[in-house]
């Protein structure tokens, strides 16, 4: 196209005008590049302004990071192999933050996707499941509804790790930290890296007490 365009210019026209006419269409040929540059500028600006991330931003990042320290069993369900689903069960405290954090990321060799689910049955396809603290009353049925293996459960509801959950966000002042119940994770045939255990506030190995 530019070639024909450039060819269409008859000889005898003045060179400067030619140039101007020539260039402007070329630049506008790549709108994506321009958008990318603009987006980058916006992100940079917002990042600079947002020097201190809020709690859920940190938690969203942690969700992703957990995925990097956990080894899933190889016999994971085939539908799970299509993508790496990070699911939020119940009321979503992240809003768009989770999506933006995980956008374009990949874990365990698969593209990370986010999913909001309302029923525990849907969680079987998830690798990481964040259970809203609002679901604390249904925790037992949720956990039991989960697949035998392959789902890392995370929640910020109190005593989550005591109640059969695997990783429980706890607040240490304004710092977001977490506790791990290794026994629950082993039940789900998940292997948690010692590195992860090293930075956990507490690592439990007790099985959930029967309520």
């Amino acid at each position: 196209m530019p070639m024909t365009r450039s060819n269409s210019f008859a000889p005898g026209q003045s060179a400067p005008r030619n140039c101007v006419l020539n260039h402007s269409p070329r630049v506008w040929q790549y709108p994506t590049a321009i958008i990318a540059i603009l987006a980058f500028l916006c992100v940079s600006v917002s990042h600079a302004q947002q020097s201190r991330p809020n709690e859920y931003e940190v938690k969203a990042a942690y969700l992703f990071n957990f995925g990097r320290f956990v080894k899933w069993p190889t016999t994971t369900a085939p539908d799970k192999s299509g993508s790496f689903a990070v699911c939020v069960l119940g009321q979503d405290p992240f809003g768009t933050i989770l999506d933006s954090t995980l956008a374009g990321e990949a874990l365990d060799g698969k593209r990370v996707t986010t999913r909001r689910i309302s029923k525990p049955q849907d969680a079987a396809a998830c690798r990481i499941l964040f259970i809203s603290s609002a679901e604390k009353n249904h925790l037992k049925e949720i956990l039991s509804a989960l697949d035998e293996d392959g789902v890392l459960t995370v929640s910020d509801m109190p005593d989550f790790s005591q109640r059969g959950g695997m990783i429980e966000f706890v607040m240490d002042g304004d710092r977001v930290r977490f506790e791990i119940n290794l026994a629950n994770a082993e039940n789900a045939r998940l292997t948690l890296s010692s590195e992860l255990l090293k930075v956990a506030v507490a690592v439990r190995k007790n099985v959930p007490r029967g309520d």
Binding site: Y62, N65, R68, R175, R177, S193, E195, L196, K198, V199
Partner: protein
Amino acid sequence: MFKVKNHSISRKLTWMNMLVSGAALLLACAAFIAYDTITFREAMVRNLSTQSQIIGSDTASALLFNDPQSAATTLSALKAAHNILCAAIYEPDGRLFASYSRDPRRDSPPLTIPADEAETHSFKNGNIVLVRPIVFQGKPTGIIYIRSDLEDLDQRLRQYGSIAGVVLLACLMAALLVSSVFRKAVAEPIVGLAEVAKIVSHDKNYSIRASPAHRQGELAILIDAFNEMLTHIQENEAALRKAHDELEQRVQERTVQLETAKKELEAFSASILQAKGELERASKFKDQFLSTMSHELRTPLNAVLGFSDLLTEERYGPLNDRQRRYIGHIHTGGKHLLRLINDILDLSKIEAGRLQLAIESVSVKTAFGEVADVMRPLAEKKSHSLLVNTLNELSVRADAVRFKQVLMNLIGNAIKFTPEGGKIELAARQLGEVVRVEVRDSGPGIPPEEQQRIFEAFYRSTQTEKTVEGTGLGLAITKRLVELHGGHLGLESQQGMGTCFYFTLPCVAGLEAEKVRTSGSVLRTSETARILVVEDDLTAAHLLQSHLVAAGYGVVLCGQPERALEMAIELRPSAVTVDIMMKPVNGWELLSSLKSDLRTAQIPVIVVTVVDQPATGSLLGADEYIVKPVEKATLVGAVQRCLNLRGRIAPTRPLLVVEDDASTREFIAELLSKHGYVVSVAPDGAEARAQVAASLPELVILDLILPDVSGFQLLAEWRVDPRTADLPVFVLTSKDLTTQEKDYIRANTGALFQKQEQWQEALIRQLQRAVPPVLTEKS
């Protein structure tokens, strides 16, 4: 001494060895250490890198989950690594996350660090700083910073240094050992060789030898060659020394010989000098003897001859026949004695090589004429005819006086030995470069056996019947005189056919002869009256000449009237004939200039001309005036009158005779007064000087040998004084004169007469020409 000498080369060898090995070792050590340092540092960096990697991966979770505590715990594990000074973990954006310092007071990591994607390390201040990004699962998670000291490296280097030092020392020791071996093998022979060379060059001792090498190789060759060279030098030197010694000895011998020879030579030369002195004395004595002889013998003889001559004239009373006869004997004996003395003196002079010839160009014809004039009366006495035969003008190089003496001797002999009425012929002809002169007679001839002996002194022919007067020296002198001239005297004779004596003299070239002919010097020797004929017409001149010559006068022609005065002054002729019609100077002019010039005023002038103006002539001072055509009788008469005319003005002043010998003085005075002159006498030089000073005489007759003041001295004095500069002087002496003396006398006097000759007549003739005699009352 030897050890000290060793220093140079062996020390050099040692140094060389040690330097080489030390340098090699140092280089090797340096290279090794450098290599090891680099390797070690790389290893350290690698180690640090590994550590940082481990720590990075250990702290990734802490970073990811914001757990600095955990990271610090992980970092504190570095305590175990003693070389780590400090370490820190930074968040990806460079903020400090966790840190560790071994000694927080000294080392602490920076608070922020620039993010970098790749691992970097740097060495600064003796530390290694390594910064490495922490990547977790492909994502930059943080940055780790580790600073380590280089203590390990330093320690290692220290170890290396000490090891290298030890090795170097060991190496140098080894080098020393090796060099000592080399010294033995290389240095010592060379040093030895050098030592020998030094001794040789210093002491010139060629007998020592370098110790022969017991190895093969270049050193051995060198030493052998050196020794061989020394041998050659020694031989050469010995030969040279020997030659030198021999030479020295020879020189000494020669010196001694030379000195001996020199002494001999000096002695010889001294003796020669002595002999020379003696010879000179003898020669001087001989000269004196000859001089004295000639003077002392002739003086009394002159008196004998003179007075015997005067007696025969019977002026002082008549002589009877006996007296006359006896006086004749005295006179004849005296004359003979005089000739004998003259001949002896001549001969001895010739023999002594003391006869000096005044060589000049002499006209043969003139000489013949003069000799014939003298000899003719003698010839006529014996009724001989004397013929002179010269076809053309010939001149010879000869002493005129001696040439004539030779001629007179030969003619005299011819006259003597030829019977009366004979014929004597005089001839000359040119033969190449010589002139051959012949005296031929019609005498009896000389037998062959006498022809050789005839030239010996005192040889007298036995052929003549009657004794012939003579000294027997004539031919001997004649022969020597001819030979002195470079000629040869010989004779051709056949008995009964006459004799021809001939001699040769060197010829003068024609041009010179021409000069001789017109020159007055030769003509002046003529004793005949000379007439200068000034006539520009050649025919007239020849006519006058023939008339005058026929009358017995000598004639000099002058065709150039402008030169006439000059010639008259030079020739001092007896008279001058002058033509009037001449160019460029006419006769009147010439006449007046002749008469107005003091040098020529006395010379009579005869005007011979077609111009008939005798009054003008006598006015201008002409003595005679003849109008052409000229008759011989008129001319000769005029000339004779002129010659006599000079006597007409009688001198009032006397003639001064200076003569120390009383008898001779008296004789001369008598002779002169006999011829009509007034005479005063002076017995010595002083008297003569006084008389001349008192009043000028008309003429002086001067003897040269005087007791106090010599004649030469008087002459010199008179010539210097302007008053007496022109005083006429005749020299009459018995002294043998040298050429120089003769030249001096000729230049300063009017005439020279020598007592050994027949001088009386010549003196009177010359005197009459110069000073007319006073006709005294006596005659």
